[in-house]
Symmetry: C2
Subunit: 193 residues, 2 copies
């Protein structure tokens, strides 16, 4: 990797950090491209050369922070993997990432591109991880070969985001245990009947 | 019931209808109390005598439209009842009620009272209906006596609102069938194991 590439990547990371700092401080509607430039100590020319509009800049920052491929935990059992993965997800949803995401919902309700970007990063980009988890579980004989992760993923994502959004209950260990043992494993096991 | 009471109740209904028409047309932020008065052909004095602020007026309209007690369907089987209830819920979420609710999310993210009101009307006020459904199912021997509706209700509500909000899939018959047979009945049955 050349020095130039590293610098560009560092600059992108700094600009994305500035976007999230400002989103947390002033919200999407009041955040300006110029304020991002100032916060990231970048020139306005750099910002406008990289991103033509605020939605584009915010979507790139979302991709950068949330859109990565995640490796599934590997605890040796499906129950252990689900528990570990959900604990990580609940901790993230309860913390700064969850606050940023909930804060962006307002803007997303008026901007289909932004909503699709958020959905892609928070949901679609994580799907392969759940498929990989179930492939390993099938190898251990815990679920039938070819068990789909579709329903598992949709249910756990809906449950976590619903609690986070409505503040209707804690995303704690008791919730994770109840979701794994009371919902997810019964859903997966009924395919074996 | 006296004539005065009927008139007041009719007037409240007309004012609530005006609130939802305007919410659909201009959104929460741009809706004014005066516009509601004009639309409902009510005097401003009537509006301000009944409701001291816009949040209070909108919350009362939400209670009026969404907060009612619902009778559970009674088809003779738990599967039939769940299917009927979810079909009704999905039809409402796909139609005008769903659009109003999604439209109010933006305002609710900045107003805890409004968010709590929406949650109370869309979720808490429906809980007894699911409990009643399970009591009847227990009498028929379909689930154990004392089976709680908590998990059932939380899962189905999260699944419907998540699809509606992210436009991530249709709220159609295939979804209802998959949710009833693939998720809700397995959750309820695992208590019998």
């Amino acid at each position: 990797m050349s020095t130039t590439t590293t610098t560009r990547s560092d600059r992108r990371a700094a600009i994305c950090d500035a976007v999230f700092e400002l989103l947390g401080e002033v919200g999407y509607d009041r955040m300006s491209m110029d304020a991002v430039a100032a916060r990231a100590r970048a020139s306005k020319a750099t910002i406008y050369r990289g991103w033509s509009s605020k939605p584009e800049l915010v979507m790139d920052a979302i991709e950068h922070r949330f859109g990565g491929v995640t490796q599934p935990p590997d605890t040796g059992s499906l129950r252990g993997d689900l528990y570990a993965q959900l604990s990580t997800l609940c901790a993230a949803a309860s913390g700064e990432d969850g606050a940023i995401f909930t804060g962006l919902l307002t803007a997303a309700m008026h901007n289909t591109d932004l909503a699709q970007c958020m959905y892609r990063c928070a949901y679609e980009s994580k799907h392969d991880m759940y498929e990989a988890m179930l492939i390993r579980a099938a190898r251990r004989g815990e679920v039938p070969e070819g068990t789909s992760a579709d329903l598992l993923h949709e249910v756990l994502h809906a449950m976590v985001t619903s609690r986070r959004m409505w503040q209707s209950g804690p995303l704690d260990e008791a919730f994770v245990t109840r979701l794994v043992d009371g919902v997810l494993l019964p859903i997966l096991r009924q395919g074996q009947g």
